[in-house]
Symmetry: C2
Subunit: 423 residues, 2 copies
């Protein structure tokens, strides 16, 4: 089936906000096996909204609209959709009660215009919105489905996952099941080459590659008459990918991020961790600390942007800095070593590099970064050369550091285990 | 004049990337005084691309397309636009040379498909692309302007600013000039209330408010026959805003961010700074370190996520932590004090809070954050209550911390100056 996304809101047309809803819904629809040929953005204007809905109805089976369900005069999505489909609005008592409760719970006073949100088109399915006052609306007629959701992502996303996604799944004559294989430490083009034969030969399941900062996600999607059959199709393909990418795969779980995989690895091996950062200035620690439960393993973070801080906090010698320069393999090594001494952590990671825009030279260009990882005294240093602006260099560095941590911890334990087996 | 944005790329329809180009171009077009009623996203498909271009031509004067100018068979934007306007493509020698030079400079080999990028529609203006191999294209006919730009933001944005923006400015019968007044430490709704009378009464100049994380931008835009006249209209309005927002205004310069304003203030007063963070886990330091030139003032950053780290790195007493809890005014104060002792910095900022999703209680809910700022021994602690998820709480905390730093430094110097004048 064909889906078309319509985002409603003058704030998007003015560039006030980025249309992240469209990206979210597109990815979800692709996962459901729906084809999306167009996305539209239109302002809070009845005539233009009606025209957009009419055009979309002429070329898609499912219309997913977000935004314009608020209580003000400007919010017209529901009115426009009802008009195009020739439906009257009526007061939906349950929605009225839900709105009343929403306000009561927060001790807020209702203004008259809020009741507008309880008006719904005749014959529609009203969808609960536990995170706001605008209910969702599903209108189905002549094989077309027009679905209205609120604009704020904090309301739209939970509503989509709880109510709209199951509705869309049922529309499909088959079941779609997908699993994501997340790979780190392999470049995008290399990963694509490694699966090119599979993509060229694919029918069911299909494989799609998604390049993320410092990682690649491979999504395997199968269609079948039921979930069990779809899972059965996905399984051998995931196994094939596991064979090709080995332990570059850090998870096959959609919910697990690279930083979570690293934290889980630390937890599983009862390892504590500390970070010491120069050019990333705290971003690496911030990503680790974004994982709930990290407090069990994270000891401390040091940001030693200046040479003085490197010397004072980590005990790095002035001579080393003069001899090798702050951005060098040797200093990354000494930073990882020094951080272990002062933090008494099992694992320490160090970052030193030139994020730009200034500070580069012929010998040490912008984008040159050294990452050190110290696992129980065994130190590995990786040299990276990133392109792009300051932000891109920093983001890539953080992903590379997480990837290196994972690799070094795995290596340490495989060697330790191997060693003990040899005895 | 009316502008319509068309973003081309199957990767947007699949949700692989967020359409940040559209947000960027919308904001710029609004600043140029162009009205935007629709944004479209369409895949790399000739038929659908042609249909989208035709529809847009029927309702807009200017079409801004981005994406689909690459060297592969999939890249069809130029071919589709030429087809709709009835133009032939020819080999543009200068573009061919530029592509050759681009590859030579990087020591890369050209593949045959790259020459496709040197083909341009007859009668068009070819726009230089110093950051890539796809030139931009401007086609003008019968009062309509179809403008093609490459998709990667690193190529599109410089091209737009250098070549397309001046072209669009000239199309307007008048000149548009705008200036942004950036405000921190005032909430979005309060800021809107403070300028409501100005917005209600506005004709020329106009005021638009843009809510950013922890700050509000007020854009004053005037139209006039030349820039001098437009500037003259903007000036008294900016003065009026300065009167209303006082030193909550941190800049009236588009290029200056809040973190840059703080770093500039530190530089101007020859103050060194260190950070000590708990729930933000390095994000505050990372934002400061994103400012080029920060190395003059930034001494060190500490991430003391655990209580143990707070005690060991900053010398905070176990009793204090037990008595008040890690998230408390007292601990924020002791962290700011301890950081000054160990880092020997003039200014230290501390952050301790509950970012969620867990760890909240009735008394100390998720979103409760204490920020301490120590300027030469004078410590201020601010209590904040943020809503939203972990990321939102952390981002808001960082902005609030920067805002507090600025306020405390200004206050310190105004009192010091005042004190010395009194003598």
């Amino acid at each position: 089936m064909i889906v078309e996304l319509i985002s409603v809101g003058t704030e998007i047309l003015l560039g006030n906000i980025v249309n992240s809803n469209a990206a979210y819904l597109s990815e979800k629809c692709a996962g459901l096996g729906l084809s999306c040929y167009y996305q539209d953005v239109v302002g809070d204007n009845e005539e233009r909204l009606c025209e957009t809905i009419r055009t979309a109805l002429s070329r898609a089976d499912i219309l997913l609209l977000s935004g314009g369900l608020g209580p003000t005069q400007d919010d017209l999505t529901k009115e426009a959709a009802a008009k195009v489909l020739g439906k009257q609005l009526y007061l939906h008592e349950e929605s009225k009660t839900a709105i009343q409760q929403f306000f009561d719970k927060r001790g807020l006073e209702i203004t008259d215009n809020n009741w507008k949100q309880a008006m719904v088109p005749e014959g529609c399915i009203v969808v609960d919105n536990p995170n706001g006052t605008a209910p969702g609306i599903i209108m189905a007629e002549n094989g077309k489905h027009v679905i209205l959701m609120p604009g704020p992502p904090g309301e739209m996303i939970p509503m989509f996952e709880r109510s709209i996604m199951p509705y869309l799944s049922k529309l499909q004559s088959c079941v779609i099941f997908s699993q994501t294989v997340k790979v780190c430490g392999v470049g995008e083009s290399k990963a694509e080459t490694m699966v090119k034969d599979l993509i060229d030969a694919q029918t069911n399941p299909t494989i799609a590659t998604y390049a993320k900062t410092g990682e690649v996600h491979l999504r395997v999607t199968a269609r079948a008459e039921d979930e069990k059959a779809a899972r059965k199709l996905v399984k051998p393909m995931v196994k094939e990918l596991k064979g090709r990418f080995g332990n570059h795969i850090y998870t096959t779980d959609d919910e697990v991020t690279l930083e979570k995989a690293v934290v889980d690895l630390l937890l599983a091996n009862k390892l504590t961790v500390s970070t010491v950062e120069s050019c990333t200035g705290g971003l690496l620690a911030a990503r680790l600390i974004n994982v709930p439960g990290v407090s069990e393993v994270f000891k401390s973070g040091y940001i030693t942007y200046s040479n003085k801080a490197k010397r004072r906090l980590l005990g790095i010698k002035k001579n080393s800095l003069l001899k090798h320069g702050a951005v060098s393999e040797e200093i990354a090594r000494e930073m990882a070593k020094g951080a272990a001494m002062v933090s008494k952590s099992d694992v320490t990671v160090s970052v030193t590099g030139i994020a730009g825009p200034d500070g580069g030279s012929e010998e040490k260009p912008v984008g040159l970064v050294y990452i050190g990882c110290n696992v129980c005294g065994r130190i590995t240093v990786k040299e990276c050369r990133f392109s792009g602006d300051r932000t891109k260099v920093r983001d890539n560095t953080v992903s590379a550091a997480l990837s290196l941590m994972r690799q070094c911890i795995l290596q340490y334990y495989s060697e330790v285990t191997f060693g003990s087996k040899e005895k």
